[in-house]
Symmetry: C2
């Protein structure tokens, strides 16, 4: 049952004088029947103090106990799955299929981190026996603050990739719940708290704070006890937190995954030959009412004859479409404002908006696109902009002009290979993931995934927020020189008691020393 309280290091606290807020069903505009309490400055401080005080103990939790903890989180979430799914749907208006799919994805993500811990190699033990005895491994950075994302109430929120990767790294976590799905977030927090209790872990390992005010985020990130921040959301939100973190006396890493327009480049032969393109793009643009980080907001086509008119073909598919509302009225309002500014300005060559839903599309020629930087701004929602190029050179110029992106897609036929290669050479500097088939929506949670990209897509392109490599955001190397075997962490001891793969004098091995 949802109680609306804040969780400070194991205690659900009720403060009668706290500011209250509610969550709203975006379909019916009805409020959920719970008064959520906004976290106070005192609660923020105490949550972080508890996280910091518990850090030494948390950092020492064995890999086996971390596995047990993650498994327990899975079980506790499954026990209240139906309540989570029902609340998720009320708070987001997303369909039951999506809710269950995202729940399962969240379980699977946790499973990938369990497997990472089972292998144990991620600590990157490196031993050097000649000269001084040097042994290095990764060690957790300290308390981490995680911000829930509005567009993924489960997979990028309370028990999402940020929190679970931080737990895998042995960092205490304070979650700032997203106010649009405070109830869903609280239920997941209840499951995590039960897991903390059952596994007898230090209570400071997890706190869960709510509220609508941006001040809560600012107070959290500014607190000197915090050592890292995970965020998925808008550019303005992520950049504000990043700036705050850099202005602290001790700057700290902020992993903000922010806007991205995920361009799709369609080369000449492909455009002519593939009749499924318009349908595939229309579906990708409108999937989840356009609220995915990898939503394709820019389609760059090489159409020398100018006769293919992909824009028209996509808009035909948008006409008469039915889409669920966006996850919150505020997001819808901002989207509508951005669209009407397109409609009223002379920025676009053509503009179409569906009468039955939010889906929309615009088009512009390459010269115009290259001369107006504002066209590269993300429109969060089911909108895409088609950039029409007269030739390869224009298409490559557009490719070279693109700001940092989570993804970029090159769709070509074998006969497009020459331009593909040139374009790829540009895009490698601009994108974290480059696709050659299909659409960028749909992000596999594997070791080989990269969900991150050069600024402004993220604040740190060297890391990923999806896939098991996400754990490296919360770790830093510590080297031990001539350390007595019994004082070494298990991963570095002579006997290799964890049986992990280690580098010994440059050679990967599971051998003991």
């Amino acid at each position: 049952m949802i109680n609306g309280k804040n969780l400070v290091a194991g205690n659900w606290e009720s403060q009668s004088d706290s500011i209250k807020f509610q969550t709203i069903n975006p379909k019916t505009q009805e409020a959920l029947e719970v008064d959520f309490q906004q976290a106070t400055s005192d609660q923020i401080s105490r949550a972080l103090e508890a996280a910091s005080e518990s850090f030494e103990l948390v950092a020492a939790i064995s890999l086996t106990d971390r596995i047990r903890f993650l498994e327990c989180i899975q079980k506790e979430m499954q026990l209240i799955q139906s309540e989570i799914i029902a609340t998720y749907q009320m708070e987001s208006a997303l369909a039951e299929g999506r809710a269950n799919g995202e729940f399962q994805r969240t379980m699977d993500q946790i499973q990938r981190f369990i497997e990472l811990l089972q292998k144990g190699n991620f600590v990157k033990a490196s031993l050097h026996t000649g000269g001084p005895d040097l042994r290095k491994m990764l060690y957790p950075i300290g308390p981490v603050v995680v911000f829930g994302a509005s567009n993924f109430p489960l997979a990028f929120s309370t028990a999402g990739g940020d929190t679970i990767s931080a737990f895998a790294a042995a960092c205490p976590v304070v979650v700032k719940a997203h106010p649009y799905h405070a109830g869903t977030s609280e239920l997941v927090a209840q499951a995590i708290t039960k897991a903390v209790e059952k596994c007898k872990l230090p209570k400071g390992i997890f706190s869960h704070l709510g509220g609508q005010s941006h001040d809560i985020g600012s107070e959290l990130v500014s607190n000197p006890l915090v050592k890292g921040v995970g965020f998925t959301g808008s550019f303005s939100g992520g950049k504000a937190l990043y700036d705050l973190a850099q202005q602290r006396e001790e700057p700290i890493p902020v992993f903000a995954e922010m806007g991205s327009i995920n361009p799709i480049f369609i080369l000449e032969a492909k455009l002519k030959s593939d009749r499924s393109l318009a349908e595939a793009i229309a579906q990708s643009v409108t999937l989840g009412t356009g609220q995915f980080c990898t939503n394709p907001g820019l389609i760059v086509v090489c159409d020398p004859s100018g006769q293919f008119d992909l824009t028209k073909k996509i808009s035909d598919r948008m006409e008469g479409l039915q889409l669920p509302p966006m996850v919150h009225e505020n997001i819808q309002i901002q989207y509508d404002e951005q669209l009407s500014s397109f409609d009223s300005s002379n920025k676009l060559d053509t503009f179409f908006k569906s009468e039955t839903c939010s889906a929309a599309i615009g088009s512009v020629n390459a010269t115009r696109f290259l001369s107006d930087h504002s066209l590269m701004q993300e429109v969060f929602g089911p909108f895409t902009l088609v950039v029409e190029c007269k030739n390869e050179e224009e298409l490559i110029a557009v490719g070279a002009s693109i700001e940092g992106q989570l993804t970029a897609t090159i769709l070509g036929e074998p006969s497009d290979a020459g331009v593909s290669k040139k374009l790829l050479s540009k895009l490698k500097s601009n994108a974290g993931r480059i696709l050659f088939q299909g659409v960028p929506t749909g992000v596999a949670v594997t070791e080989a995934m990269q969900h991150g990209g050069p600024f402004p897509a993220t604040t740190d392109s060297r890391f990923t927020s999806v896939g098991t490599d996400a754990v490296y955001r919360w770790l830093r190397p510590v080297a031990f020189q001539d350390c007595p075997n019994e004082l070494l962490p298990a991963a570095l001891q002579n006997e290799n008691p964890l049986g992990i793969l280690r580098t010994i004098d440059g050679k990967l091995t599971t051998d003991a020393i």
Copy 2:
């Protein structure tokens, strides 16, 4: 021969109207007979434009060609070794043995990166064949600016670890030479330029700019074409560059290795039993006239009886010592100022300064140390502060209070194991490398080395500036999804043409797909 000019992408440029400066022999106060030209804003811009324009080509340089380049740098430096060594000594007043030792260390560092490239595994190829075909590897971040360090004219300067690791990563480099050893730096730059020519690499891969003004560094770091910065030096210098880089429209990583006081904790039994301590510490503190990053500036002793008086034993060894001057008058002046502020204030319990050289030592009790944060500030030079603790608890409290450090050292006997363990648990959060024998000066260049630490020791504790892992500062992952084999980088192609170790579906192997 030293010409005093700036190198802009392969061309040694002379600008008659540029500001001139000279380098001074700190022993004789004589100037080197060369007028060095300060780089102009125009030269800065052009060097960075050339770096940026060459980036696509540089990023595509094969591992084999990168090896050839680094080998060629070694050879070209060896050809003018005697001139480099002579200039090094004139500009730094450091002894010939140190000069030759640092030259050899620089060669060895380059050799480690050659070996890294020979193996090729550092690109971290990770392939996932189920579901979408995902293949990820590390890709260079773009043009890098490297600042030469005053205290290591070779090993942390023009062809030092920052530059060579960036070349290994396939990033173009613009070096800002340190004005205290502009001649040494230029000679090394000449060797690198010859290597660029002989290997027929794009000229934009390397530029070398000089000057005394801080504006040059600011202009370099603020330029939007720069994608990363390497710096070794003072806290004020490193932090200023870091702040500039974070205030850019696109923030970029700055790897600044800054001050560190490298505490040595001497536990009770060790203090009583080890008669070589005073000598070892006096030597480490005064090594290179105290100008090493890992110079121990804090000695924390557990001396319950208060009768051991390590301070006196060390000061006895400093008395009558002869040390070379510091590498520049300005450093000496700042050191002398810091010492006289100790002498005139009431901050210390005891203070001693050698009459024959710069070596100095102070002492303070733990209570006083814990209540005066200013005592944690680095005094760059041959000074150390002894903190006297009455018991274990005080010693651990001092350990917990320590700011981020490059190193921390615990010296104990087996009977000190209990307190060692408690102290270690604190220090893991505060230091990058923890030693259990000897002194922190002397940094082995191996894969297992960590030369970095939590802020304020560095601006990014997740990376190292010494050892082959330094290459990861200049790399970011790029994933390819469903990419045709012929468009993939060699490291990710089915056949594994490079023969490197790759992760395929979670398993490390050199197999083809």
